[in-house]
Symmetry: C2
Subunit: 377 residues, 2 copies
């Protein structure tokens, strides 16, 4: 059984399609990972997540270490068993949520001390503890702890932050390899930082590749810099990354973000957008987003997206979904999240097929044109 391999099967420009092979399953790339923050892809049964086409999900170290606790999940047999998802799981390292959710952070070279946003209890996250938590969870793809560089940041600030993260990346690698049983089955990804500065991104990429990782993430994006700046960072960073390892753009994004990033050579994504939108009555469609709260849907017998084969689109009308939203029925986020995840997986399947058949430009142009997005991105 392969611990971790990545095979590129076709390329089209900078874009690639292929597959990651791990003990728990194959992941066709470019891949979109639904987010199962607290050991649940919100409003979805795991079997339904799989049926949308997802082959890997993401879970959040920060949330799970606070509740129910990594040691508890380990005692219960690990995260896969706990949440009934037998396929690969990538866990983030908790760094991002320490910055976005926790209170009273105190950062030092060792790690970060913070207060839980749930009950105020004090917790500590270091590179070593982040790896330990991910080992307790039984993660298939493990992420190093990094500092999420704020945006905007000066060159000096971004450099200091990146250098801190690079030190943590090295410690993460050591800690990962010390857990021999887990390391024999799991993969470890580094995270390129450096803000919007191309020179820092280049140095970060070089440092990480010297340490050696199974794949590299591009972190610190989708934090307010905008799509154009994000694409610029990808263009500065991706040529610095070895061809043969997967590239993961963290926390991204909207459909046009995914298309633009795939065209620039990204292989993996995660984002809460499809499920979060499902809980706020937003639906993605091939002709642009819909707000199901809007009264214009109340008499509309049409499906959300006539070209979608998901259960929501084949069995329910916009009028019904509008009614469920207005009546605050739990079935509304259930059906909308199902559709949105299906839409995202359909997009990834479309991108993979287009790359295989060397027609990515046409696919992107058609898809973005129908969405009403700028065709050039």
């Amino acid at each position: 059984m392969s611990r971790f391999s990545f095979d590129i099967e076709a390329t089209d420009g900078a874009a690639r399609t292929g597959r990651i092979t791990m003990a728990r399953g194959e992941i066709r790339t470019p891949a979109f990972m639904p987010v199962g923050t607290a050991a649940s892809v919100k409003a979805m049964l795991p079997g339904a997540v799989k049926q949308t086409g997802a082959e890997i999900i993401l879970a959040n170290v920060y949330h799970l270490m606070l509740r129910p606790g990594a040691e508890r999940i380990a005692r219960l047999g690990g995260l896969h068993k706990f949440m009934n998802w037998p396929h690969p799981i990538l866990t983030d390292s908790g760094g991002y949520q320490v910055y976005s959710l926790a209170k009273l952070r105190q950062i030092n070279p060792d790690g970060v001390v913070f207060q839980s946003h749930i009950d105020g209890a004090e917790h500590m996250l270091s590179p070593e503890r982040a790896i330990e938590v991910q080992r307790l969870l039984g993660a298939d793809i493990v992420m190093v702890l990094d500092e999420c560089t704020p945006f905007p940041a000066s060159h000096d600030e971004a450099q200091a932050s990146m250098e801190l993260s690079m030190g943590w990346a090295e410690r993460s690698k050591t800690a990962f390899e010390a857990g021999a049983d887990h390391a024999a089955k799991a993969a470890l990804f580094g995270i390129v930082q450096g803000g919007t500065y191309g020179d820092l991104r280049k140095r970060s990429a070089a440092t990480l590749q010297e340490i050696g990782f199974d794949g590299l993430a591009i972190g610190g994006l989708a934090v307010g810099e905008g799509q154009a700046a994000m694409f610029e960072v990808l263009e500065a960073t991706i040529p610095e990354l070895a061809t043969g390892k997967p590239r993961y753009l963290m926390g991204v994004g909207k459909p046009d973000d995914l298309i633009g990033a795939v065209r620039r050579g990204v292989d993996m994504f995660d984002c809460v957008l499809p499920t979060r939108s499902g809980r706020t009555a937003q639906a993605f469609t091939r002709t642009g987003p819909l707000n199901l709260k809007n009264a214009r849907h109340r008499d509309d017998p049409a499906p959300l997206d006539a070209d979608c084969g998901c259960a929501t689109c084949t069995e329910y009308s916009r009028a019904y979904l509008h009614h469920l939203v207005r009546a605050q029925e739990i079935l509304a986020p259930m059906l909308l999240s199902l559709h949105n995840l299906h839409f995202y997986q359909d997009l990834m399947a479309g991108l993979r097929a287009a790359i295989s058949e060397s027609r990515l430009d046409d696919f992107a142009s058609d898809f973005l044109g129908a969405l009403g997005s700028p065709k050039a991105s």
Copy 2:
């Protein structure tokens, strides 16, 4: 195709098991109908409701006439299509919710004028309008409009209320038959009233059977009178009802209520309890109810109910369900409602099998004993 037939296949004491046959499907009795108040069995996909064993659901006229509106559902092809439930649907007449939810009720012999609890808009419900709404929805089993007699009520109050309901029942029959196309496919049930007074229940039953209905409901119970008084009313009422027609106890109840009522000859039930409990972290099990909020579950790898074959029990631990409840994940009501509905349908299947095999007393005694309920009820 049979419009409506009821065949009793076996009896055991006063209890009966059999089947109702309608154009949209068969309903094995004793039957439990999950409640789909606002065109959704809360937190459940319709396919999952069917998989629990449900063959008919209940929907509420009051809720649907206010939102999204019966005329709108009719324009969209009827309730079955709207909510993707192709099997039989029983609709209540709205009377109960007018009393429990609406504001500023004004009752007169014609019907009742009330204000919507949603937006304060004025609406009217008469026996004729209640039938019209159910016809617009396309209900398979239609209920007459009745006045829900308050509890406690004096004999005079209960008599006046019952007599009003009997007049409405006659008008409902006339209105139902006037809708020839719908009446050719649907069934109409009357509702026995009379509070806790046996003489009034007897007169109500006689009046309704003179008018002629496909089945008779026993209304005005589970309104605070307690289980003993409810069973007394059943014992006073059921011997007055023709053997060959189904008997439906409205709005009941807990597992021990169902067992006691089946032993007294009831064939059909509806209750929000399994789904409402699923949204408040309560699970029914063969050894009594569980509150999943309770911290004692947090390390428990056991399923909710070791003898249950539902997906919740075969795939998830109490520890995980406790975590989902604490984290306020939508998956908590999804999994708990699924289990609770499955538990109720398993109970009904157990009752049907026990009646068929003339071992209902033993079944009831064993089931109630395991639940920790009084064995005599």
